[in-house]
Amino acid sequence: MICVEQLSHNVGKTPVLQNISLEIPKGKVTALVGPNGAGKSTLLSLIGRLMPLQTGRISVDGADIVQTPTRDLARMMAVLSQTNTLGSRLRVRELVGFGRWPHHQGRPTNEDEQLIAQALEALDLTTFGDRFLEELSGGQRQRAFIAMTLAQGADWLLLDEPLAALDMAFARRIMAQLAALREAGRSVVVVVHDINHAAAWADHVIAMKAGRIAAQGPPEAVCTSQVLGDIYDMELRVTQIEGKPLVLHHL
């Protein structure tokens, strides 16, 4: 379980997160949703200790993220941040291979090589293994970064908009893979913009607005026209398909 207590965060004098307390369940897929600027990415970065904590406390499976050595945290959780600007010229296989660094510290074993191959396979990148990242399309590059995060083999996966730049087919495939990880006992926290992916695949939805938690619960409870209408300040209809809420936000 990830436990967030009284978390606040300011950028300059602007409050980005205001006194957030929440629990993220273990062994589930949790979706973070909300309008632009709601603080989703900041919350995810703080949990992933990518930014220094200002006030509040965060623990992952009981381990306080400030007290626990960063190397140990890297084996507990893998974080994919949104800003994957590319400065380096790396091959896909090399990038994915760095996902195993927290485990082998520069001396990859056969097991590491296997997990790298599996991660490449899972994202349909095997044939791209020896290509340089900068020669790939945005979506293929995004898949390479997701593969690196998968290869890390951590219990917790924190992904900030993994579906950005992906086509429909891959978006669905990645959500299905995240759901499969849950079956394998791992936990996933994912920021998604398409609310229907949250509704269809997540067990738990956390909706944020203006630095606060606006609603949380199972998709059926959060993905209603009432709750979402308030959060996004728009009118929308929600219907049901195969027992899952379907949000008609584009009509």
Binding site: T70, A74, L80, S81, L90, R91, F98, G99, P102, E134
Partner: protein, 322 residues
Amino acid sequence: MAGKRMRPTFILIGLLVPLSVASLLIGAAGIGFADFGSDPHMSLIMTVSRLPRTVAVILTGAALAIAGVVMQQMVRNRFVEPGTTGTAESAAFGLLAVTIVAPASPIWVKMVVASLAAMAGTALFLRLIRRLPAREVLLVPVVGLILSGVLGAIVTFVGWQTDLLQLISIWLMTGEFSGVIAGRYELLWFAAGAAALAWFAADRFSILGLGRETTTSLGLNPDAVMRLGLVVVSVVTALVIVTVGMIPFVGLVVPNIVARRMGDNLRATLPVTAAGGATLVLTCDIVGRLVRFPYEVPVGTILGVVGSGLFLWLLYREPARG
């Protein structure tokens, strides 16, 4: 796969061997193969001058190329090297300061002071560029050039005031190997040692090149890796300046060509970068010895010409990219 990646290293070493032999044979005093062993004067020239010089050139080239690529990973920008970010000028300033304050101090004291000054100057540069917008890739080298210009001006001013301009312009600012003899180049082994340190941390520098966030999420402290890089870059630069003076362009051109062909996985590319730096500097040093034989043109001058040509070629071949 591994064999294919090693090929450039073997090619470069295949080039280095004949170049080293040429370097041993070329110079004002003629040496032929027939003289080996028979003429004591010849073996003296060999052991006191030619061999140390050749070794010094190879160590310098390899260490500077590695310092360049480490610097580029640290700031995530391909258009910098220690000579264009104030590191070299800071080292020169440290050396000038110790020459003024304690002229009689032993060489290791000068080396330590120059290294510390280089670290301070590089740390200042890293601080300055931290606030720059990430998208403006060309601002980083511009800030570096401005900083090295300012620091260079301070060095020149102090040198002018203290009547040490000759020391600065001949010794520090113009890199050349004609003064290298046995007993006066051995510090470069430390520079090579610092560069070798980079090999052990190769993966860390590659990961640092992916950005602070990825570095953190892979369980590394980006600041710790930065500090290690700072030490490598500063010690290499300072020791090269203390022994042979400033040598431009090696750290810029060689890593760029290597990255173009092989990428940025330093574990695989560092041997090639080192061998490439050694080959480039050795070639330029030999050319410098030949163009006005028996007089010499400093290797820094030759590299200035060759290096800027290579750099222009790189710029036109590769669009501006971080």
